[in-house]
């Protein structure tokens, strides 16, 4: 056994018995220290003849690299053991609860208005607004509902003045008048907003939300109205097909007027909008009455178009399975948490309207 082989076997025996960092340091010194066994071997190199030196040097370097890497390996192992030992004492119970936080939510009405705006944005509608307090003229008269018109009885109106000239708008339709008076045709707007009627029971709230739509241009027909509503209903309820029917009705500000029903069925006690064999009224619509256009300074001989109105709260109820309209406005923390939407759930066209 050569010297080098001897050194190697001594080293192997020692490294196996290393338990601590100190042991390892001792080995390091014993072999690679100033007078270490390997160091000493290097010192003999000078005294060898050139032929032997080369061969010996090569062997020695190999053995040095081998031993060094073994020491590194051992050092790594020892450190791992040490870390693991330390981590053992750092264990926490991960099932403990997170820090208390308050989860904010967006109200279903706001969410649905965002959805609606996104849908109508795709086909070029802009959002318009008007004041909550309206003149009797804008709310009724300009909309072809003169003072002695019985249709006024259908609206239980909140008044701000004895002479009934100022009121809380009973529908979003007066915004039609404002928008048309403030601009030039064509008009393509939707108007989501608060509306008010003074009745209050299980299915009526004194305030609710309406969505008005108005499209006035040169050749807009009832075919466009049908296409627009069919598109909207499909997009809103996120279904491929929808059964829709127009029922004759009467609104003073449209002629012809219709109410629109959509098909639905009940599955597992839940309303499924789309095809089913039951009908649900969802909106009113029609072709804008020439008198309304005249009142809004639009020439009915040149321009025509459609208008529609629907209950936003009702749409929200249908889509998200909410039963009680009154609860929308009662600010019950539990209800708001349950039906509210995560603020990051912004309805978009590319990610879809709802999760």
């Amino acid at each position: 056994m050569s010297d080098l082989e001897k050194i190697n076997s001594i080293f192997n025996a020692k490294i196996d018995s290393v338990k601590t960092k100190e042991d390892l340091q001792n080995i390091k010194t014993e072999f690679f220290g100033k007078n270490g066994q390997i160091t000493l071997q290097f010192k003999t190199l000078g005294s060898l003849n050139p032929d032997n030196r080369k061969e010996f040097a090569s062997k020695l370097n190999n053995i040095k690299d081998d031993l060094t890497s073994q020491i590194e390996q051992k050092s790594f192992e020892l450190e791992n053991i040490e870390i693991n030992e330390k981590l053992k004492n750092e264990k926490v119970d991960v099932t403990l609860p997170i820090r208390p936080y308050r989860q904010g939510k967006v109200h279903p009405v706001s969410q649905v208005i965002d959805e609606i705006s996104s849908i109508f944005s795709e086909i070029g509608f802009s959002v318009a607004e008007g004041p909550d307090v309206e003149t009797e003229y804008n709310n009724f008269t300009a909309l072809n509902t003169p003072e002695d018109h019985p249709a006024r009885d259908m609206h239980d109106t909140f008044y701000l003045e004895k002479n009934k000239k100022l009121l809380l708008r009973t529908h979003t339709s007066p915004v039609q008048i404002r928008a048309m008076l403030n601009g030039k045709p064509p008009f393509k707007i939707i108007v989501p907003g608060r509306t008010y009627r003074c009745d209050s029971d299980q299915t009526h709230a004194p305030m609710f939300h309406q969505l008005e739509g108005l499209h006035i241009d040169k050749n807009i027909t009832m075919g466009h109205l049908k296409g627009c509503l069919d598109y909207f209903i499909k997009e809103f309820f996120e279904v491929k097909n929808i059964k829709m029917r127009f029922r004759p009705s009467h609104f003073p500000f449209t002629e012809p007027s219709a109410e629109v029903d959509i098909g639905y069925s009940i599955e597992n006690e839940k309303i499924v909008i789309g095809e089913g064999d039951k009908w649900l009224e969802v909106l009113g619509c029609g072709m804008v009455h020439p008198n309304v256009l005249k009142n809004a300074k639009v020439d009915p001989k040149k321009f025509q178009g459609f208008a529609f109105g629907m209950g936003i709260d009702r749409l929200a109820m249908l889509k998200y399975g909410i039963n009680d309209l009154r609860a929308f406005f009662e600010s019950d923390y539990r209800w708001l948490s349950h039906f509210g939407f995560d603020p990051s759930d912004v309805p978009t066209n590319y990610r879809g309207l709802s999760k």
Binding site: L96, R99, P100, R102, G104, K105, V106, H107, S110, D114, S117, F120, S121, I123, G124, S126, V127, P131, V133, E134, N138, D148, H149, P150, A151, M154, F158, Y159, L160, E161, L166, L168, K188, R194, Y196, S200, P206, M222, G223, H224, K226, C228, Y231, F246, P248, H250, P252, E255, P256, S257, M287, F329, S331, D332, Y333, L336, S337, D342, P343, S344
Partner: protein, 722 residues
């Protein structure tokens, strides 16, 4: 439950288990009520939809023989409720509905059979319509019928009325009601013997009184259309008759009225007296003005048939009939509006089936509107008739174009939608409350301006339009606290009003936050929500709107609904700039008044309308990106400064010492106490220094530190703490 008139021997109506109560649509079951097994119930008139009478159960007098028989002999369950839109007065009679049905192909409209009436006697009552402005009566037709035997109506008539939900009274009254519902032709029958000499249709005088058939006395205003005799008012024309001349079972001689009243006049009178009757409902919507004679014919024949007697000739005071309207209808207009074509022939067929008279041209129809259709005035009205009968389902839908020419939302609308997400992402639940509120609460939050009162509120605690967004939030915060929740964050975005005129409103974000942070946390110490929580929410929201932080000017100016020492406002750029927000602790006096269980409540208001609209997008105004690769250094300073001196101002002063090098200024400690004079505080500030072009040397740092100390000491009178 429990009728005051229930007694032994009473004959009444019994609904067995399984029966459905007409009013409530509730199906009776065998159930225990107050511990006693109940098998069915005894009914009031109201419960059976016979009348509004709900005091006690029905008393059937002299009906002992019918005990055990069914009360409803008619097949009233076959009644169909139809909601009639206000334009279709003609469909307030069965005949109008039948005409519409036949037009759509359901059944055939059979012409009314004229029955011969023997009109042998003389009309004994003089009738006149006084000529005056605003005379509401155009025609007053009548028939005098004598020697009748008024009685209970025959079953066929009674059952029809019951099915309509009417209470049979006597043959004469029942006949007038029957004709009204059958033909939409309201009639009135007077006991002719109670009329003082003659009938005068005239305008009422101020203060005239009369007792109507509802047994109420009405005091009339000037100018209401009344039917009167020589001595007094007998009835309100077209609305309600009076007790003075009402028919009774003993009535012998009858004056039957069939008149035409102007809708406007009817509506005005009824509204002023808040009266609603079946006749009024029809007249105000417009009945057929040419049905005066027809109504008399049908009703007189029925009275003679059922009650006997002899009838006079019909006399009509005023105009007997009115000329119809004619509309020239270019057929092409249909396609222009509806999107599909109709032929002249088809249009003619439909219109004719609805009672229109048409003269056919090549491409047009000359259409005469039937007298029972006051709602048809112009071409679009005809188009509607055509499409509703032809069927909306035949309209081909045109797919909408996916094209956007204008932006969907404007600047402020974008802020509105964004703010909902911003507040919710800060842990607030969005709520939507009424735009009106309780004036008593709203007063606490507004500046004591005049109430914007609603004249007819649904309840006395929702009586004003809100001047503050916080009023309802506070009310609902309390309701939630009363449910046992203390740590609440609520917000609303909506209109707040500053006047009663249209447009005197602005959109405000309001938020309330109550309770603690880290309540019952195993890991953190719990603490009260404080003003810096709410300030942070306000500031962050404004920054997220796109306003740069250095443009948010914070001052202690606030309003009286907040704690005077723990509230402030944020204005744009300077103290006098547009008001962006208020924030602070809600005034303890308000908390006390509201009696909140968790009194630690903070609020904020953000005024979206005041946020200046930048004329450029952020991307256009953003500075180019520069980041220094040289080492940064930090220096700490502690100043002893007047207690009232605003730290915000101190930070600003330091920043301005050298904006190129001073990157960040952070206040990390405020200390007041023993080691410091009573009117002073110690403010510890950390300053981050970094140059763009070099590593700052010790010398540079010393120099700038010296400058900072100098500026602060000179401008604020502060002293650096060793």
């Amino acid at each position: 439950m429990g009728a005051p008139n229930a007694r032994d021997g009473l004959v009444t109506i019994y609904a067995p288990p399984g029966a459905t109560i007409p009013k409530t649509k509730f199906q009776l079951k065998v159930a225990k009520i107050r511990g006693v097994e109940s098998r069915g119930m005894l009914c009031s008139e109201s419960e059976l939809n016979l009348s509004d009478e709900s005091e006690g159960i029905i008393e059937l007098e002299n009906k002992e023989k019918e005990i055990g028989k069914s009360y409803f002999k008619s097949k009233s369950e076959k009644a169909i409720d139809i909601a009639i839109t206000p334009n279709r007065a003609d469909c307030l009679g069965i005949r109008g509905i039948a005409r519409d049905l036949s037009s759509t192909g359901i059944g055939k409209l059979i012409p009314l059979k004229k029955k011969k009436i023997n009109q042998s006697i003389k009309h004994l009552i003089k009738i006149s319509i006084s000529k005056e402005t605003n005379q509401g009566c155009l025609a007053f037709g009548s028939c005098y019928i004598k020697n009748i035997t008024n009685k209970e109506s025959p079953d066929w008539l009674k059952n029809k009325l019951l099915a309509l939900g009417l209470k049979p009274i006597s043959a004469v009254v029942d006949i007038t009601n029957y004709v009204m519902f059958d033909l939409n032709r309201p009639l009135h029958a007077y006991d002719a013997d109670k009329i003082d000499k003659e009938i005068i249709v005239r305008n009422s005088k101020e203060g005239e009184e009369f007792e109507a058939l509802d047994n109420k006395k009405y005091k009339l205003k000037k100018g209401m259309c009344v039917i009167a005799d020589k001595s007094s008012v007998l009835g309100l024309g077209g609305i309600v008759g009076g007790t003075k001349t009402s028919t009774e079972i003993t009535t012998k001689n009858v004056l039957l009225e069939s008149a035409y009243f102007l809708p406007r006049s009817i509506r005005k009178t009824a509204r002023e007296l808040t009266l609603n009757t079946d006749a009024k409902y029809r007249f105000e919507r417009g009945i057929d003005p040419n049905s005066v004679i027809e109504g008399l014919e049908i009703a007189t024949e029925l009275i003679l048939r059922i009650c006997g007697g002899q009838a006079s000739k019909f006399i009509v005071a005023g105009k007997n009939s009115q000329k119809g309207k004619t509309i020239n209808f270019e057929i092409k207009n249909f396609e222009n509006l509806i999107g599909i074509a109709i032929s002249v022939n088809e249009a003619q067929k439909i219109l004719t089936s609805l009672g229109f008279k048409c003269k056919k041209g090549k491409k047009n129809l000359k259409v005469e509107v039937p007298s029972w259709r006051p709602d048809i005035n112009e071409v679009v009205d005809l188009i509607e008739e055509l499409i509703r009968i032809k069927g909306f389902k035949n309209i081909k839908l045109i797919e909408p174009e996916r094209k956007r020419k204008n932006e969907t939302l404007n600047f402020r609308q974008k802020l509105f939608h964004l703010s909902q997400r911003l507040l919710a992402s800060k842990g607030y639940l969005e709520t939507v409350t009424w735009s009106f509120t309780d004036s008593k609460i709203d007063k606490q939050f507004s500046k004591g301006e005049k109430d914007i009162a609603i004249l007819n509120p649904i309840s006395s605690d929702l009586d004003v339009l809100r001047r503050s967004i916080l009023s309802n939030l506070a009310i609902y915060l309390k309701k939630n606290q009363d449910r046992g929740y203390e740590d609440l964050s609520l917000f609303e975005i909506g209109p707040v009003f500053f006047g009663k005129n249209p447009g005197e409103q602005q959109i405000v974000i309001g938020a309330l936050k109550s309770g603690k942070v880290g309540r019952k946390s195993w890991i953190d110490k719990e603490r009260n929500i404080d003003i810096f929580d709410i300030k942070s929410d306000a500031m962050k929201t404004l920054i997220e709107f796109g306003i740069q932080e250095q443009n948010l000017y914070v001052s202690e100016n606030s309003k009286q609904c907040y704690h005077p020492g723990r509230s402030g406002s944020i204005t744009f750029k300077s103290e006098k700039g547009p008001l962006l927000a208020y924030f602070g602790e809600i005034h303890p006096a308000i908390i006390k008044k509201l009696d909140l269980k968790e009194p630690n409540v903070y609020g904020l208001e953000i005024f979206i309308n005041n946020i200046p609209e930048p004329n450029k997008k952020i991307r256009q105004t953003k500075k180019s990106f520069q980041a220094s690769d040289y080492q940064k250094s930090e220096r700490d300073f502690a100043f002893i400064i007047d207690k009232s001196f605003k730290v915000g101002l101190l930070e600003k002063l330091i920043k301005e010492v050298d904006e190129n090098i001073i990157q960040k200024v952070v206040t990390f400690d405020i200390f007041e106490g023993e080691s410091i004079p009573r009117d002073k505080k110690s403010v510890a500030i950390n300053v981050t220094l970094q140059a763009a072009d070099r590593t700052l040397s010790e010398k540079d740092l010393d120099q700038i530190s010296k400058k900072i100390i100098e500026v602060v000491q000179n401008k604020t009178g502060a002293i650096i703490r060793s």
